[in-house]
Symmetry: C4
Subunit: 212 residues, 4 copies
């Protein structure tokens, strides 16, 4: 029994290493979707400023997605402060989590290309909801009956983290609903939702303190 | 003799680190093959849903390849639970393994582009068979005469892992054969074959228990 | 209190791992912006040398950006010789730092495409200034009131590193100003500014010695 | 004095980590240069086999470059079996080494696109010569006067590794010369040169044994 634990530790370490890799790559690939404007002829100097300014929705979406990926990266690591062991199911929940993370460069490029269209805004929100739900499953699976966590983890902590993760999909759902009114409104919410997880004094910080 | 062992440990560690990198990148590059649809004019809003729906074969192939890469990543790490040392040959078997893994974004893009054509379906299956055979070689080379594993590894374990790895190429070969009847059938098998390695109670899990 | 420290150590380790990933990817993606020239017909052999030579501004910018990213990578790691703990704010300063690093492949492709235009030269310089300022914030936040560093770090060290980081944006600002005279002059400065941080005997080396 | 060593160890560890990242990415990016053939109309099924077969030079170059990058990756790590400390100069030699590695996806795409043209063949060989020379510099700088290696490293080892690294550029130079006769001949040499470093009983293995 005791011999298993180093192996399990290796597993969580390996899962985190693959996760770090996928997050770093997904973040850095975001910029590949912003193409340098191609202009020719003598009017280049006069047309270039306009062509660059026209890229602003793409840079805004780059910014939003980079921060959002940062939020999920932090959340993923915070989970592993509490999760001490890995089993086959947890491993595969992680692969599905990373698969949803891997979609972000696409949905970012899509919303950045068609910032006034409703469909890309809905797909972007749906992508984030899927990520959040897999993260929720990750937490539920690991903590249910103290499956992969220390026996002394309090039910209050488990419940409070569950609530924190649920805030995301609820707000993304509201943002999707508001896209029927204005896609710009939805995008502003996609930007602001991250503040809940970034600002000091937020619920996640609370989690970190409790799990120490 | 004792001084060698930390070096050899470093070697397996290094091989695993390069492997984690190549797997993380190959997984994340898959999405680059799905391009955002380019539409212009006033009909964008009405044409966009159709253009996105037309991408479904590519997303299906993204899903299949991501899961399949996950399966091989797990298998690769499970090997290193048993393999305790590395030599030059093992190193190069690993480079060839990663080379075959690096082909997956191409064969995924190819099958996703031509989902009704037989050739891409055959090439995709062939890619997976090559990966499996190199993995087989990896296991055979390391365990033959207990070359790079502990002396107390049982012949039953070696044999059972050999059989597990062989299931893959056999099923991929059947899927390639069925592509003469229907390419959709082959793709369904490419999807379902992963269940053998993912589902709890599967043979790989068995391996993991024995190697503890 | 003592139990917290390994967790904080884990945090700085994780931040450095994500940073290594983003730097390695941003550096390696630079080459993707240099496309192989596409030529057809019988004149390929005679036209190819000219087409390759025409790529020289892109290779020059590849060279400059790779070295510059190297400078920031070294600076980032040198910070973590001194910074011993991480908190939520430091984590997010790092995410914003990596976001600015992630922009470098774009601004490099832009300046490489329009080497005679002023706008890309200004944007490139602005990108570097943003990186430097976030790095400055990183250092200020960690060292202010010895927040995340050892209590015995001398005020002289803190001040000297602050000055070293400030040299960069000042020179980039001068280079941006000189772009009104000649964009080539600015690009030469973008190249040479790195010598301050590379050459032995430079101020950064001084920092490294003091922090030992 | 003793306090410095863990720091220096960290440095070599960090350099190796960045190196692993750049190598893994450069290897995996190679496949991005092979585009899926784009065909339309009813003749797709009949034209696809020809279009795939026409990609063979690109796959051959993928294979050659992947193996060659594997050779340099192994060589880079073997150096760090002997190099125990890092200083600023070694760090920058490594950045320049990785910069030359980062060029490989370009020179591979170039030679794969124009397999019958001499210029890409020369550029590919030149890229490899640059990599080898920086590697030579890396070894010379670290071992000269036992600067960054153990004092008991024998002069014979230093000399033998120097010779091993020199074999590469000499053969690449011959291959470049032979490109005036036939580019295919050069490409065959680019493939076969790797056997010197891969085959068991090779000189590098010898190095590994001595450094234990």
């Amino acid at each position: 029994m005791a011999r298993n634990e180093p192996q399990f530790d290796l597993s969580t370490h390996r899962i985190e290493a693959l996760g770090d890799g996928v997050f770093a790559i997904a973040m850095t690939l975001l910029i590949l979707e912003i193409k340098v404007p191609v202009l020719h002829g003598e009017a280049v100097a006069s047309e270039l400023p306009g062509a660059v300014l026209a890229l602003w929705p793409k840079f805004l979406c780059y910014f939003i997605s980079f921060v959002t990926l940062g939020v999920y990266w932090v959340a993923h690591h915070l989970h592993f402060y509490t999760i001490k062991r890995a089993d086959r199911m947890l491993l595969w929940i992680n692969v599905f989590f990373l698969m949803a993370i891997g979609l972000v460069p696409f949905s970012t490029a899509f919303i950045g290309e068609y910032v006034n269209q409703q469909l890309p805004v809905v797909i972007y929100g749906a992508n984030m909801i899927i990520i959040s739900l897999v993260l929720q499953l990750h937490w539920w699976y690991a903590t249910h009956n103290h499956r992969l966590v220390e026996p002394d983890i309090s039910p209050e902590l488990v419940k409070s983290v569950t609530h924190v993760i649920l805030i995301g999909p609820v707000i993304y759902l509201i943002a999707i609903g508001l896209s029927y009114v204005s896609t710009k409104l939805s995008i502003i919410i996609y930007l602001l939702v991250n503040l809940i997880y970034i600002l000091p004094g937020s619920v996640h910080l609370h989690l970190k303190r409790e799990t120490k």
